[in-house]
């Protein structure tokens, strides 16, 4: 399909001269854009020199303690670390960087505290997971990404992965789905969203039994035909596919989503890469670079 070919080319064209990829054409390199572009293009076996330079750029951004931050002026923004691992796992040359990142992830956790008896928050605040920033509370998406990264490095049974899984299950909404990570606040159950739900389901596939997440799969099944934006559609599809549920007319759905750029403007590189990914990669992100 023409729009898909054009979109793949668009991702390729977002390389920057010093290595890595920008969020948009003409922008500065950003680690999340680099990581997502590398995951996509490596799976599609395209632009391998640019992908190699992307891996190298991520390695250059890695701090001594193993973290990869949004930029050197914001070392506390640790969330790209897991993404970098998922990118490096498409290559065999970055084992050392992966191990350093894994060590960092295993030694880092979101802020946690014993649940107060009259806390307005219903979730278990003591379970270890990962936050977006150093010192922040643990939330669903950074925890799901860290679980995927550690699984990609073969740490499926590590205590921290098991704890991350427990956190995700604890933050699952009683009516199905996940949001950013609060379940009930002051007695009111909050609403789910698709992107958090798809990501959590993708991370949990193969680690928990179907009945533990069936209600969230129901939520995604009910929503999937109405999704038109790249983050929701991308994670919605990845969430269902990880549980071996096919999504009908996937290429058409992605094509429709891509055409929305005509009136909302170009998607950023992570969103564009994410929505294209299910078309070129049939194996889960936590399975590393190989099918």
């Amino acid at each position: 399909m023409d729009s898909i070919r054009v979109a793949m080319n668009s991702v390729e064209e977002r390389t920057v001269s010093k290595g890595g990829f920008a969020l948009r054409q003409g922008g500065h390199e950003q680690p999340d854009a680099t990581a997502w572009a590398c995951v996509l293009l490596a799976a599609a076996r395209r632009s391998l020199p640019q992908v190699e330079s992307g891996y190298a750029r991520l390695a250059a951004l890695q701090a001594d303690d193993g973290r990869v931050s949004v930029d050197p002026g914001h070392v506390e923004t640790i969330w790209p670390t897991a993404l970098a691992v998922l990118a490096w796992r498409s290559s065999s040359a970055y084992g050392q960087q992966c191990e350093r990142a894994a060590r960092y992830l295993l030694e880092t956790s979101g802020a946690h505290w014993p649940q107060f008896p009259r806390s307005p928050l219903a979730h278990d605040t003591y379970i270890l997971g990962w936050g977006w920033t150093e010192g922040g509370h643990a939330w669903v998406e950074p925890t799901a990404m860290a679980v995927m990264a550690l699984r990609a490095l073969g740490r499926d049974t590590h205590l921290r992965v098991r704890s991350g899984v427990a956190l995700l299950l604890n933050r699952q909404l009683s009516r199905g789905g996940w949001n950013y990570g609060n379940t009930r606040v002051f007695g009111a159950e909050l609403r789910p969203n698709v992107e958090s739900t798809g990501m959590a389901l993708h991370a949990l596939a193969g680690l928990v039994a179907l009945h533990e997440v069936e209600r969230s799969l129901d939520y995604l099944r009910e929503r999937i035909d109405r999704l038109s934006t790249p983050l929701s559609l991308g994670w919605g599809v990845l969430g269902l596919q990880a549980w071996e549920e096919p999504v009908e007319h996937l290429e058409d759905r992605v094509g429709d989503c891509l055409r929305r750029q005509e009136y909302v403007g170009p998607y950023d590189t992570p969103a564009l890469s994410l929505v294209l990914l299910p078309l070129v990669r049939s194996w889960p992100l936590w399975r590393g670079g190989q099918a």
Binding site: L23, G27, H28, Q30, D32, V70, G73, H74, E76, T77, W79, A111, P120, G131, W132, T133, G135, G136, H137, W139, E141, P142, N179, Y180, G181, V185, F186, A188, L190, R191, N193, V194, E195, S196, L227, S228, T229, P230, L231, S232, Y263, V264, G265, Y267, D268, P270, A271
Partner: protein, 340 residues
Amino acid sequence: MTPSDPIAAPHVWTRRQVLSGLAVAAAGAAGLWGFREWQKPTLTAETFIGAAASYDRDLSDVMSRGFRELGVTSDEIKGKRILLKPNLVETSEQATHINTHPLVVRAAAEAFLRLGAQRVVVAEGPGHRRDTLAVLEESGLESVLYEDRIPFLDINYMEGIVVPNAGGRSPLRSLTFPALLRDTDWIVSVAKLKTHHWAGVTLSMKNLFGLMPGRYYGWPKNALHVAGIQECIVDIVATAKPHFAIIDGIVGMEGDGPIMGTPREAGVLIMGRNCTAVDATAARVMQINPHRVEYLKEAEDWLGPVTESRIMQRGEAILSVQKPFELVEAIPSQAGLRLS
């Protein structure tokens, strides 16, 4: 930023301030420039309340009347680059009162363009969802902006510029704003009239949490919660220095806001140049005592006036539009806020 970058935002920060923020350890000298500006306390202000029974009304006309009453003229707006910052949090088909109504955003854009603004953009960094485009679409704002050819920018994924914290109420020594503000002359908070379970109320000042990019602060913007919500509200306003505030109170939210509360019709748009005064007036419209709202206590007589006698009221009288918004006494930030 390279040396050849234009200095595009004299009303926001100087290049020197931004660069000083990059080396916050040395923020003292350059940062004090902005801080001193805010040491001149704003003791009086004007606010405007416009009646609008529904979103079908000509809201642009109500806003234009507010501009006239507040002395916002084409001489002042002509050629300005206007940033409208609505309140987009998350969406639910059953709860359209969560977000600033699209027709209020449209009316604000029209009113500024009518006064000769060079450009109006709408930008937001939702705090709960990473899929900003989904929030934009599901809130109905996407189709309105497309029809009007008004661009939308997602703040959450923008590159940041680091600025010394001019408020100094929270422990944060610097704040990271979107680079977009370098190309903005007027920041306009286009907020929603809502109660809030952590801050008591969310009005034009709390709305500016959405100026902080998620890529630096997370989803939710937990780094700001950890540093103190009330203190960060004051710090962000003191540092960003917004130029104007508009609050959509046609249908607001009462009870367990900002997302789980119930709709409350108040039938008003509240406007003004000073966010503190606008929020104090809005609180009174909700029959909430603004002197008991923590962030307004912090801001009082520094960022703006809270005392009613220091706020010149234009348009409708507060008493004529006042509606008691339900407060939840079991929520600590809302306990005891009722205006007696």
